[in-house]
Subunit: 223 residues, 2 copies
Amino acid sequence: MNDGALGPGPRTRVRRLATKANYDERVIYSILDEARLCHVAAMVRERPVALPTLHARDGRTLYLHGSPSNEILKSITRDGEAFVTATLYDGLRLARSGFESSIAYRSVTVVGAAREVTDMTEKARVLSLFVERVLAGRAEEVRASSEQELRLTMVVAVDIDEASAKVSSGPTEDDEHDAALPIWSGTVPARLVFGAPVPDSNGAMATGDIEVPPSVAALLRES
Amino acid sequence: MNDGALGPGPRTRVRRLATKANYDERVIYSILDEARLCHVAAMVRERPVALPTLHARDGRTLYLHGSPSNEILKSITRDGEAFVTATLYDGLRLARSGFESSIAYRSVTVVGAAREVTDMTEKARVLSLFVERVLAGRAEEVRASSEQELRLTMVVAVDIDEASAKVSSGPTEDDEHDAALPIWSGTVPARLVFGAPVPDSNGAMATGDIEVPPSVAALLRES
């Protein structure tokens, strides 16, 4: 593969609608980093399953985490390989035919070697990455992880050995015979917006009195 | 299983954070129907993979569709069983510790018998369901499917034999020792909103002159 290209390789080559394929690592990383969750495929009880989870990227490593009894994490570390996919829904692409109508989306597929991270310092660093993934700026606002919490968390590092992106965007692509039909054709963009924060009311201290932290304020400004 | 309960069964029992588990079919269907895409797990070239795709539910049947050369669809019809998961991102749950901080989400897992739908009348009906899934009210606005288009589309029916939902919502759950810390704790809801439609400018007819159709107008009113 060329510099800056993460594919195609045998498991990530886009086989359907190959015109939508992209192997540029900048495109792949931007989708991975924007996606707020991913799905991990694995063999569990001898069958293929996929479950949603959080992910955090650091350079060419993708981290996953969960309980030490998480069956997907146990399966991929046992197999030594992980398949991760992340998808962003970007809106509607409404052609004049049902056949050409679909959604706008960006998706990424990553395949790579998976190994458990056991070093406690490394685990603490990665767990901070996850807090930052949940909300940028939040890691420095929360209480630091305890040793007990680190022990209760399994962290898996996946090397981004091979990856591909698939992007469906731009104007609708009507069949040429349909273009003259008096049917509206076009796209409708979608985006995620965040609403008013709801402070916890259960704490010993009424957190409603504490100002909304910088991390949440920044999120709401951008939203 | 009881009336109205779709699980738990051996493949859909929620094993981690079982307090978040729900097997009520109304909850499961509402999540499936709100999710704008799903991920299907399958064996492809002897390895577990998962890819995003659209889904359409009709009663206790979940439909998938794609090209006849789609490897996931070929794999699940060959195996006779499908594993489908759909996840909705609902926002942030920001506790005082990183350990208890995460996202609000609703996810569903469906396992069931998979078979290809080959009857042309049935395929036409299911393809209309997919258009409705992309946008409610759109099926009656678009040109009807041609026989050629039906032949170019593979439709797979998955019986919802067993399913489970996992819902993470409500206030943050801080550890009791953390509740007194002077750190803001709370939730931030997220939702998808649709923006201004962009009419196609490539057609032989300038569709900008055609009014935005009822389906799109309704979407924007609700958004």
